[in-house]
Amino acid sequence: MLFPTFEFGLFFLVIYAVNWWLRDEMPARKLILLAASYFFYAQWDWRFMGLLAISSAMNYAAGMWLGPEVRPSVRKLVATLAVIANLVILGFFKYYGFFIDSLTDLLLALGIQRDLPVLEIILPVGISFFTFQGISYVVDIYRDQIKPVRSPLDLFLYISFFPQLVAGPIVRASHFLPQLNKNPQLDPMSLAYGLVLIVVGLFKKTVLAHYLAVGLVDPVFLEPSEYSTLDLIGAHYGYAVQVYLDFSAYTDIAIGVAALLGFHFKKNFDRPFGATSCAQLWQRWHISLSTFLRDYLYRWLRGDKREGRWMSYRNIFLTMVLGGLWHGAAWTFIIWGAIHGAALVVERQFKSMVKIPKGAVHWFWPALCGWFFTFHVFTLAVIYFRASSLEIANEYIRSMFSWTPGIELFTPLMLAIVAGSVAVQFLPGDTLERMAKKLIAMPVVLLGLLFGACLLVIEAIGPEGVAPFIYYQF
């Protein structure tokens, strides 16, 4: 069940009404939200409801074993086993095929022919996101940052809550669980902000990202050698913008839907294409994953010691490569992560070597150079992220740098979508909040007409059909 569909609209309307009707009946409300979340998940494949339940039960049990009364050595063992178990489940579904193919190739290269067990593994949608939430819950208890929950209902709902279940944002237990034990509230700002986020998210996904995908990116990335240099340049910018629009749209809608149900989620994207350094970009892009990688992977690589400069570079690079590998078992994702890791290291080293004296140049010029570098690292790396193989990615870059005249798919509309989407990133960060504030005082009939008119226009001007969100595959 995709967000921008008639089915989801109907589903949400029912859940919204029941959620507020049961406002004072907390256990019943949680139970309904849990049932709704499992129903939502079952729309992809009902068999994976079991996996979701097993993951939740495992992390609940681990949490109970990590109480403060348990011996430190046992706590360490339980936390380690729980993290390993989470990673094994994730790794089996995500990397089994890649592992078997690579092993077969290696054995063939050594002259050994073996029939390895081949299984048709379907990747359960959202597995990365609910696994990461499970890991963060266990590790945060181990680090004494949160207490284990006593109610399994709370933990099951935390892991499976439908707005963020299949593509994030990765919500931390410390942020979500306390909200389950308060009577939910809906103030005028949350209502207006939720509506604004849903409209903006739907517009980004079903109109802008969809036009870029079907009109430019998909055909060009399928056969890069068939298109002109300008089309290739346009499509690589186009895909960078498409990923942003698509993914940020999902999290906008998720945050909006959660707000309308009385939950608060933190911002997941904060104008990343306005970043003037690679470090800043990752503080603004998929913030919940970046902070997850920082808190659970980088911190683990660093350990408790103070790290030297080269060790920190190694850890940054490894974090980004592993972040790339998380997206999928393919060399293209590893290279994508390595490019970003290398860019972060180069940028850090450059900043430690080059100090511009205050007032020597106007602030604008370093900011412009930083923005140009950051934006183009991102758009070039994204070619590897999008290409179906290393050969296609390399061919794409080769073709982009060898002049072929003409322009076919990078039309004025595509240019307007790309340039417009980048330009709005320079607006103040609270623009949507300010829009929402203006709606608060509006009479309900007018607000209903406005919301309805926005949805009608979005529905009417978007291309036919609904494309799945890009991050569902991760």
Partner: protein, 98 residues
Amino acid sequence: MTKQYDIERDGSEEQRSQTVAMAVRGLQIFLITAAILLVFNSAKLRSAVRDFPANAVTDRMVLAADQWHAWMEAAGAAKVAETLHQAMLDIRDTQWPE
């Protein structure tokens, strides 16, 4: 620092009545939105209903959605979405000058 998860009932009656009022306001907004989409986007309703698994109930829903769309077409309401869609297609097909 360890966070506690003690049950917190919100204290003020004012907050409670505001929440109820906002929840009702939200419901009213969704119902108005649904009405607008039913009237001006009846083609979408028809295609969504046709995607439901076939059975006696959904067969009747398909007939009702067809009838509803025919009425909206006759009233001219269905033209709004078509006009907007066509305008967007014209923009999409615009090419650079030769």
